[in-house]
Structure formats: structure tokens, C-alpha cells
């Protein structure tokens, strides 16, 4: 319906649009007119102006369209109004009215524009008023709401305020709690650290207690920790308020755990110790060393474990010793020691060398076990025993380890030395035993049981040796000289000194070279005393016996020869010097005796004995020339005999003394006798020259035969000087 109305409204414009071209034509005409006629005519100006109005101008066009819309709207409004008035009217009437409206619009518009416009304005204003009224009432409502809101807000504000007030204390409390929590955390941390520091974890406790967990490095770490805990906990015990409860508890718990650890170590050690069944060449694992180090804090546990070790080692060493004795090495090589039992030195030496090597090995093993550094010992120097706990343990264990070995060793050595007949072999064995005793004591010390055994058996060996020596001495004492025995040392003495020589060579061979002179002397004194004294007493007793049987037998020379023989044997050895001295003294005194005896002999042989006897026996005042051998005739024959004797070879060398083995001694004795003889001759000469003895021509009496009364001549003949020679 509207479209039809617009179509119907358009025709005026449509009809006017073809007229625009005619209008242009018109204008062109007018321009011609203008050109021709003057354009000053206002009407024409106006006209021109009107005509010149361009309706294509969009502003105008818009204004017109607004206007046109206005009216159409008005129609619509009117139509609506009419429709409102008579809504029940039929459609036919509307179509008629519309038709009328369409036709009259332009005219009415020209007439009522202003009015219409005003009406419209008024209507609009009224509408505004109405609208504002509504708005106003709405605003009132709004105001109410806002007020209400305001009051609510105030209320809320109030509440907020009060809540804030209330919250403040809460916040304070929260802050307090927070700091309290902080403090609690700190304490928790401290407690945790405390627990970590002062207690063992479940695992660690298990490590210490459980039998299923091996003893290993971890175990010892745990032990260290437990130990440290106890150490640290002692600090807790030393507070101002006395021991703290925690400290007491920690110490008691941990100590208990530590003890269990110790027990475990002890069990483990005992078990491991039973494995040490190999011979002397043992190695110690670091774990074992650590275990022993720990156990040293618990001596009673260590003692128990070590007694197991001692038993094991004891049995092992005994077994290996017996194996070495009876079985030898693998496949019998090296051969068993007992195969050489017939050779006492080798047998005993091999046994003792075995023991010595076992000792060295055992000692090294124990030093490793107790982690004792083998001191920087110079090869060959004596071990210096330090007073230390380890040293005590080691000594004790060494002692025990070799305890069982002692009796088979002793038994065998004893058998060997008892079965020896030769004192030399016995002496060699005894010396060997002493040597090993000294050597081993450097390792095991003097107090060791094995040292005791070695002392015992070497004492025993020496005992047997001295028994043999004494038996020999007794045999010697029973010596009977053969009938044709000359003044040379008898065969029994030579045998005896031969044995002595060998014993001496064994002794010198056994010297280590560092003994003092006294030690060397003392080491052989008893042997020397026994053998030499027995020899001397034998000699003198057999000499006495022979002298009784055969008074012409030259006992003195025999004894001197025997003593000299002994002296020759002993003289090269400095340790026998005291015996040499004694022998020399003995020889000296016997030589003096011999010298006087010899003097008696030669003075008889020389024929002066009777004369001298008269001179010496002179008691009365009777002149000597009147007494016995000193009567001038007798005296002359005696002096003649003396002169003869002086020219015999006996003056130079006595046939008797030629039997002395020591010719220097013989010479000395002879000279001494000659000197005495010269003194005797001198005495006779002096007496003869004395006037009171009433010799007529004393010088003639003396000068009848050599040495013609001259002492110097006599000394020259005899080859002796004045006084001592």
C-alpha cells in the first residue's frame, strides 16, 4: 500500500524531469535575451535566480525529501488517526481516502506548512514532556535505590570497619603463630639434626646387630658413627644442670648398640681366626686389622678372639712342623727334616731353622694384625722391645702359637743330644742351640716360652756335654802309664788335649765376634778348668805313682813336659790366658825345683858336693884344712875332678834336660844350676883363701886345676854371666 502511494507521489517529479531539458532550452534562450537585453531588471534577476535554482543540489533535495516525508508521515499519522477512530471501517473506504490524501498533499502542505510544523513541534514537545515525566519518576525511583544503596554501603562500611577491628587481633595471633611455627620448624630441624647426629638409623642398627649382614667397611663406618655419638653425647652430660636425660638415654642406647657391634666383631674375628690354618706365611686383610683395632677397646672380647687365634695357630704350627719333620715339601722335596736325624747337627739345625723362620713369619703376621709398623730395623741389629700394649699382645700370641711346638722340639733335641757319645758333637749341638737361642731371642724376647725351652735344651746339651767331659776326666784319672813310658806326655793326655783342641775350635767358631774378653773367658772357663785341671792332676798322680815304682824315673821332666804340652795347646787362645798364666806359674815353680835338683846332680857329678858340704857344715873353730873333703889332698883331687867335669859336654848341655820338650826352659834350668855351681866353687875358693882355715899356699891349691881359682874364668867356661843370666 505504501509503495503504491510512493508511486503515486512520484509523478510530479517524474513529470518535471522531462521538463528540465526544456528548462535548459529556456535558459539558453534567456541567456540570448540577456545578452541582447539588459539583465538589470530585478524581476528578471529574480526570475533568473529562481530559474537558476538547481534542485539537484543535495541539500535542497534532502530538505525537500524531509518535507515530503513529513507530509507522508502526516498522512500516515492522519490515516492512523482515522484508523484509530474507525478501526471497524472496511478496506474500500481506506483506498478512497488514500486516494484523496494523495491528491491533496501538495496543496495542503503549501497552506499548512507552518502550522503543521508547529503542531508537530508541540506534539513533539508534549512527547518530550511525557517522556521526561517518566524519566523523572524513574529517576526518583533511582534516587531511592541509590539512597538505599548508600545506607547499605555505609552499613557495609561499618561492618567492614568492625571486622577490621576484629581481624586485627586475629592477624596478630596469626603472626604470632607464624613465628611460633618458624621457631617450631627450627626446633624440628635442630631435633632432626640432633637425631641424625645422636642416633643410628634403622639400617645402621641392623648393620650392627644382624648376624646376616657381613662385617665390611660399611659396618666399621657405622661403628665409628656410634662411637662418635657416644663421644659427642658426653658433652650433653657435662651441662650446668648435671647430666641431661637425653644424654643419658643416648649414651645408654648407643652404648648398647655399640656393644652389639663389638660382639659382632668379636664373633666375626673368632670365625675368621679359625681360617688362619696355613703355615707361617699369612696375610692380614685391612678389615681384619680394623676389627682388631676396634676390639682393642674391649680387651676381654679381644682376649677371647685371640685365644681362638692362638689355638688355631698353635695347632697349625704344630701340624706344619710335624709335616716338615716327617713329610717334607710337596712331593717330598724339600726332604723331611727327620731324614737327616743321623746327622745331629743338621737335624737339630734344620729343626731350629724351621722354627726360626716360622717365628719370623708369625711375627710379621702379628705385626700386620696389630698394625704395628715393623720398625726400621737395620739388618743384623737386635730388636729393641718397646713397652707397648701391642707388643704385649704380640709376645703373648707368639708364646701361645709356639707353645705346642715346644715339646716335640724338646723331645727330639733331647734324644739327639742324649744319643751322642762324642763330647765334641755334643758341644757342637749345644753351641748350635745357644746360637739359635740368641738369634730367636732377638725376635721373641727373653721371656718367651720358646726361649725357655731353648734355654732348657741348651742347658741340657751343655749338661750332657759336661757329663761327657767329666766322664772323660774320670777315665783320664784312671790312666796307668805303660811300663816303657818315657818322660814325654802320655798318650792319654795327647788324646785328651786333642779333644780339647777340637772343643776349642768349636768354641772359637761359635764366637760371634762382639763378645768382650771377659765374656769369651767365661764362656769357656768351665770347660777349660775341667779338662786342664783333670789333665794336671792326672799327670801328677801318675808321675807320683811311677816315681814310687821306679825312683830313677825323671818325674820333674815328665811333669814339665805334660804342662808344656798343655801350654802349647792353650797359648794361642786369648780366652785361655788365665789358664796359660796358671800353667806358666806351675811350670815356673816346677822349673825352680828342677833347677835345684839339677844343681844337686851336677855338683855331685862335678865333685864339689863333698867340699861344699864341709864348707857349709863348718861349726867349730877347727880349720877347714883339717876336715874331710877339704883336706888339701882330697880338695886337690876334687878340684881335679871338677876340672875334668868342666871340660865334659855336660857343661854346655845337660843330657837329662835334653828330655825337656821346651829347650828354652831346659837351657834356663841348666844355667841356673851352673850359676849355683859357680857360687859353690866361689864359696870353696873363699874358704880356702881364708887364713884361719890354715891352707898352705892357698893359691897353689886352687891353681892346680882349671879354672885356677878364677871365678871369671869359670863363668866364661860355663857361659853364664854374673848374677842372673
Amino acid at each position: 500500500m505504501a509503495s503504491t502511494s510512493t508511486r503515486s507521489a512520484r509523478p510530479p517529479f517524474n513529470s518535471s524531469s522531462p521538463s528540465s531539458s526544456s528548462q535548459a532550452n529556456l535558459r539558453n534562450q534567456e541567456d540570448k535575451l540577456k545578452g541582447s537585453t539588459a539583465a538589470r531588471n530585478p524581476i528578471s534577476v529574480r526570475l533568473h535566480k529562481v530559474l537558476a535554482t538547481n534542485y539537484d543540489d543535495p541539500a535542497i533535495r534532502e530538505a525537500l525529501e524531509t518535507l515530503s516525508d513529513l507530509y507522508r508521515n502526516r498522512d500516515d499519522v492522519g490515516k492512523r488517526a482515522s484508523e484509530e477512530v474507525g478501526s471497524s471501517q472496511t478496506g474500500g473506504s481506506i483506498a478512497v481516502e488514500k486516494l484523496t490524501v494523495g491528491s491533496g498533499i501538495a496543496a495542503r502542505a503549501r497552506k499548512n506548512l507552518r502550522r503543521d510544523a508547529e503542531i508537530k513541534l508541540t506534539q513533539s514537545t508534549q512527547q518530550f514532556l511525557k517522556a521526561f515525566k517518566e524519566v523523572d519518576s524513574k529517576l526518583d525511583g533511582l534516587q531511592e535505590h541509590i539512597d538505599a544503596m548508600q545506607s547499605r554501603c555505609d552499613e557495609a562500611q561499618g561492618q567492614l570497619q568492625s571486622t577490621n577491628e576484629e581481624c586485627k587481633s586475629l592477624l596478630d595471633r596469626a603472626g604470632g603463630l607464624r613465628s611460633a611455627r618458624h621457631a617450631v620448624n627450627d626446633r624440628q630441624f635442630a631435633v632432626d639434626s640432633f637425631i641424625i647426629r645422636f642416633s643410628l638409623t634403622e639400617n645402621e642398627i641392623n648393620t650392627l646387630q644382624s648376624r646376616d649382614i657381613q662385617v665390611d667397611a660399611n659396618f666399621f663406618r657405622t661403628m665409628r658413627k656410634a662411637d662418635r655419638i657416644i663421644q659427642d653425647a658426653r658433652v650433653l652430660m657435662s651441662g650446668d644442670e648435671g647430666p641431661s636425660k637425653a644424654g643419658v638415654e643416648i649414651i645408654s642406647t648407643t652404648s648398647q648398640q655399640l656393644e652389639q657391634g663389638y660382639d659382632k666383631i668379636a664373633r666375626w674375628c673368632a670365625l675368621e681366626f679359625r681360617q688362619f690354618v696355613r703355615d707361617a706365611q699369612l696375610d692380614v686383610s685391612p678389615l681384619m686389622r680394623e676389627a682388631v683395632k676396634w676390639l682393642r677397646n674391649r680387651p676381654e672380647l679381644l682376649t677371647d678372639a685371640l685365644s681362638v687365634l692362638a689355638q688355631t695357630r698353635q695347632a697349625t704350627l704344630l701340624n706344619t712342623f710335624m709335616d716338615a719333620l716327617t713329610r717334607g715339601g710337596p712331593g717330598g722335596i724339600p726332604r723331611p727334616i727327620e731324614i737327616h736325624a743321623h746327622d745331629p747337627l743338621r737335624y737339630v739345625g734344620d729343626m731350629l731353622a724351621w722354627v726360626h723362620q716360622a717365628i719370623a713369619g708369625e711375627r710379621e703376621f702379628l705385626e700386620a694384625l696389630f698394625d704395628v709398623k715393623g720398625e726400621d730395623r737395620m739388618v743384623g741389629s737386635v730388636r729393641i722391645f718397646k713397652e707397648s700394649e701391642e707388643e704385649e699382645w704380640i709376645q703373648d700370641l707368639m708364646d701361645k702359637a709356639f707353645e705346642k711346638l715346644r715339646s716335640p722340639l724338646r723331645l727330639r733335641v733331647r734324644q739327639t743330644i742324649r744319643s751322642q757319645e762324642s763330647s765334641i758333637t755334643t758341644y757342637k749341638v749345644a753351641n748350635l742351640l745357644t746360637f739359635y737361642n740368641t738369634t730367636m731371642q732377638r725376635t721373641i724376647g727373653e721371656k718367651a716360652g720358646l726361649s725357655n725351652t731353648l734355654n732348657e735344651i741348651s742347658d741340657e746339651a751343655y749338661g750332657v756335654f759336661f757329663d761327657t767331659l767329666e766322664a772323660q776326666a774320670r777315665n783320664l784319672a784312671r790312666t796307668i802309664l805303660p811300663d816303657n813310658q818315657d818322660v814325654q806326655p802320655p798318650a792319654t793326655l795327647l788324646d785328651h788335649t786333642q779333644i780339647l783342641r777340637e772343643i776349642i775350635s768349636v768354641y772359637t767358631g761359635s764366637l760371634l765376634g762382639n763378645e768382650s774378653m771377659d765374656e769369651k773367658r767365661e764362656g769357656f772357663r768351665s770347660v777349660l778348668d775341667l779338662t786342664v785341671d783333670a789333665s794336671i792332676s792326672m799327670c801328677s798322680s801318675v808321675a807320683d805313682a811311677r816315681k814310687v815304682q821306679k825312683p830313677t824315673w825323671d818325674k820333674d821332666t815328665f811333669l814339665l813336659n805334660c804342662l808344656d804340652h798343655l801350654l802349647v795347646v792353650l797359648r794361642p787362645h786369648d780366652f785361655a790366658d788365665y789358664k796359660v798364666k796358671a800353667l806358666q806359674d806351675e811350670i815356673e815353680s816346677r822349673a825352680d825345683l828342677l833347677a835345684s835338683d839339677h844343681y844337686q846332680n851336677i855338683i855331685h857329678e862335678a865333685g864339689l858336693a863333698d867340699c861344699l858340704a864341709v864348707c857349709n857344715d863348718k861349726t867349730s873353730n877347727e880349720p877347714l884344712s883339717h876336715i874331710g873333703a877339704m883336706q888339701p889332698r882330697e880338695l886337690a883331687s876334687h878340684l881335679q875332678a871338677f876340672a875334668q867335669w868342666l871340660s865334659s859336654p855336660d857343661v854346655v848341655r845337660s843330657p837329662r834336660l835334653a828330655h825337656l820338650n821346651d829347650q828354652r826352659l831346659a837351657d834356663r834350668v841348666h844355667r841356673e844350676a851352673l850359676r849355683s855351681l859357680a857360687a859353690a866353687y866361689e864359696k870353696v875358693c873363699v874358704e880356702v883363701r881364708k887364713p884361719e882355715n890354715r891352707y898352705e899356699a892357698a893359691n897353689t891349691v886352687l891353681g892346680g886345676a882349671r879354672p885356677f881359682g878364677s871365678l871369671n874364668a869359670l863363668r866364661q867356661i860355663m857361659g853364664v854371666g854374673e848374677g842372673s843370666g
Binding site: Q214, D216, A217, N218, R278, D279, Q281, D283, V284, S285, P286, L287, R289, T320, D323, A324, G328, G329, P330, G331, I333, P334, I337, L345, R346, G349, D350, L352, A353, W354, H356, Q357, A360, G361, E364, A368, G374, D376, R377, M378, V379, G380, L432, F435, T439, T443, G509, L512, G513, N514
Partner: protein, 246 residues
Amino acid sequence: MSSEDNEGDATELLETYDFLLKFIVIGEAGTGKSCLLHHFTHNRFKDHSQHTIGVEFSSRTIKLGEKRIKLQLWDTAGQERFRSVTRSYYRGAAGAILVYDITNRSSFTNLFRWLEDARALASPHLVTVLVGNKSDREEDREVEWSEASQWASQNGVHFVETSSLSGDNVESPFLLAARAILLSIESGVLDPEKAGSGVSYGDRALRRVNSSSRLSFGSLSGRKKRNPIRLKIKDLVPSPLQGRCC
């Protein structure tokens, strides 16, 4: 078990060893046996030394490849009067260090007697190393290197010259002997389990054997296989330098 072993190895001290070997040091008196040994164990010259009395004992652990070997060393007196004593110590020795003095011909001429003794009394697989000592006194030399070397090869012993004064070469005789013995063990000629062989297992080797018997011999011989090659170069070709240098 295995972890324990590892820990054990980590904290292992120097004292543990794989094998323990017994050595004797022999030779005429005054050839410097004790000094040689002293230098070997103490790493310094022993001054003013006296004659050894009987026997002396010392020990040292050496390292050969991956093996630690403890040597038990028995130093014997060379003097004749101790002969009967020292002979008892030959029993069950695995190695002998036979020492002579290059400046003293008589100490060389008697060598055969010593070797004979040692072979008769020690372990049947005795390894002997001939040592010409006092190589620092070249000007007094009475025994030529070549002569001694020839003697050594004729008698099947190793040979080195040493100086216990300067410390020159003092370790080689001991190392040579130890190597040769290790070879014997590896080839099965020597059994450390048996007493009297002069050789025994140490804790390290034992633990290896005990803890994993499956691996024990494989790993033992597998590791050792490397040694012989090095050995051959060193001890079968004794270069003059090795024996003679200053």
C-alpha cells in the same frame, strides 16, 4: 658380597699382597749381600757393616704388573763357620740371590759350590739370580761382565750387576726372580697351595679365589698374560747397559 669386595679394594692398604715368596741371599763373605738387601729394603746404603751372624730376616712388598708380591728375604752369613747354620735356611726357598764381588775373583770361582748347595737344599723349582756386586768399583774389577754372564747362562741362572753403594740395579735381581716365579705359578709348575714350595697366596689373591671361584683362574691368568711379553724383553735380553751402567 661383591660390593663388600669393592669397598675392601678401595680402602686397601699397601700391606696386602697376592703372593708371598721366600728368597735366600747367598754368596761368599764380604760380597755385600747384607748391603744389597739393605739397599733393597731401606733404599739406602748400609755403612760400616759387620759380617752377618748366622741369618737375618727382612721383608718387602713389591709390585709386578697388577700383582703385589711380598718377599720374605733371608740374608745368610757368607763365612764358612756359619755354613752349617745357613744351609738349614735353604729349605723351601723359592728364589736364591747368589752374590759375588766383581772386585774379588775368589768370590766368583766358588760360585758353583754355592749353586750346588742351593739346588740341593731349596725348593726343586728354585729360581736363581747371579748378582755381581760392587759395580761402582770398576777400576778394581777382577771378574768381567761377559765371563759372569756366560757362567750364568751355562748354569741356567739370570744375571745382573749391581752396586749396593750407589743403589744401581739393586732391585732388579729381586724383580727378576719374582717374575720368573710368577711365571712358574702361572704355568702350574709351582703350586702356592702346597707347603714348602716357598710360595704362598696372600690375602688379595685368596679373596679373589674364594669370592668368585668361577672367575678366579680365568681372571688371574687373563691378567697375567700380559706380563710374559714384557718379561721376555727385559730378562732374556740382558743388555750390557742394564748390568754395567756406571
